[in-house]
Amino acid sequence: MGEELIVNMGPQHPSTHGVLYLELKLDGEVVLDCVPHLGYLHRSMEKIAENRTYTQFIPFTDRLDYLASMNNNLGYCLAVEKLLNVEVTPRAQYLRVIIAELNRVASHLVAIGTFAQDLGAYATPLFYAFSDREKIVELFDELCGSRLTYNYVRIGGLSGDIPPGTDKVIKDFIKYEYKQLVEYNELLTHNVIFLARSKNIGILSKELAQAYSVSGPILRASGVRWDLRKDEPYLVYDKFDFDVCVGTVGDSWDRFKVRLDEVTQSLRIIEQAIEAIPEGNPVSKVNRVFRGTGESYLRTENPRGELGFYLVAEGGFNPYRCKIRSPSFSNLSVLPALIKGLNISDAVCVLGSLDIVMGEIDR
């Protein structure tokens, strides 16, 4: 009826989670078309990888999905280990599971907080989530000396053993977090405004999710029972008892709920892992030299989905080619299909529920 309005949402916009630029075509407030423009955070990580040794690239993987650096480190190191057949001690494997799950909790907490923020719950859930995440970040600070870019996992192990007393800190945190989760449920999950805003908004059907190769909590929210930790266990995930959380409809609320449930499951995994850590030496020295030939593609279950590293080696100290298959990239590609015909407020809600990290999309 009316004139079409083209709104440039981003690259600087409070709820585009970084530097995403969406070109929205609006009719009044209804989104008719959406064209995402990427590349504002592009650093050409893949080219960097070709010019660094295997070990030197680990700090760069921190900067991909900066909310889940441990998982990126882990994914990359596992891919290199698969490529070059490097052995890892059992203790290192257990510790890797613990840190990966802790970081998953931290990352999901940020996702929950920012999603609530996108729905207009001014900062309060965000701050609660961040103060919980802070405890994990402090713990990681203790482990590896950094709060965001951890650079903790090494090819063949970890950069250092956990300091004594860490297991008690983790146990305390788990107890605390279970209590906090009740609070999130009271504040958000069943709040009538929250439900009205996120229920049945941006429904991602099973078929669409698979066609767009969406992964992680978003895929599971669409009702696909698929979790790499369960279906193709890497590390020692097959030794733990946990559930794969799935949604029913695939709307924004389901995606939120799946994340919230996954926090519980991650805490369960950590609880089990911390009881079963074997003795041994998890440390892998930096001055080990790696070289080899071949190629490997390895996927790990990141908080945001399946992170894949495709490494090609041709005998040098550097990878010949390193392709990073980032989960958020595929997850974002479904956005235009999801928000067509929705209100601009709902578009923000859907974008928030996809939980993208631009560092990973632009690489």
């Binding site: 080219k47 066609a211 767009y212 279906d231 593609y297 996927r299 894949g308 299909a337």
Partner: protein, 154 residues
């Protein structure tokens, strides 16, 4: 192994095709990529196109597809070898919508033209740029592969 089964199935379906295994990947001739991919998707239930990328081997270009079958738990690496003077390959967008952005990305960085792609623009780099940065022969005056500090001897 699993990849051999897949090869055998493809062989049975298309007896005239030269489908070979190189390393852990299945190499398909460029001309028949679309048929093979359709077969893989519809009959061998590879529902997921995980990543599309390319590897620059200096004398040739490899387009690499990672396909995944959720029901059979098989990861298949499909490769198409392209000569450097003819970097065109059929787009798989209609089979897997996820290939849309992934192919755009590959085009952006390697310059492989995907035929019949609905929207083949650069995705990360500026539209007006003409270089393809992930090629091995990429050269620019202001591009330093690795910043060199003086005194570096190794």
């Amino acid at each position: 192994m699993l990849i051999n089964d897949t090869q055998k199935k493809i062989k049975d379906k298309f007896p005239s095709l030269a489908v070979e295994i190189v390393g852990s990947a299945l190499v398909v001739p460029k001309s028949s990529l679309l048929e093979v991919a359709t077969f893989l998707k519809n009959e061998l239930s590879f529902e997921n196109c995980h990543s599309v990328t390319a590897v620059d081997r200096k004398d040739k270009m490899e387009a690499v597809y990672h396909l995944y079958s959720t029901s059979n738990h098989i990861m298949l690496t499909l490769k198409v070898i392209l000569p450097m003077d003819d970097l065109t390959v059929e787009s798989l967008y209609l089979l897997w919508p996820s290939a849309n952005w992934l192919e755009r990305e590959t085009f952006d960085f390697f310059g492989i033209k995907f035929l019949h792609h609905p929207d083949l623009r650069r995705i990360m780099n500026p539209d007006e740029w003409t270089d393809y940065p992930l090629r091995k022969d990429f050269k620019r005056d202001d591009f330093i592969p690795r910043p060199q500090s003086t005194g570096l001897k190794g």
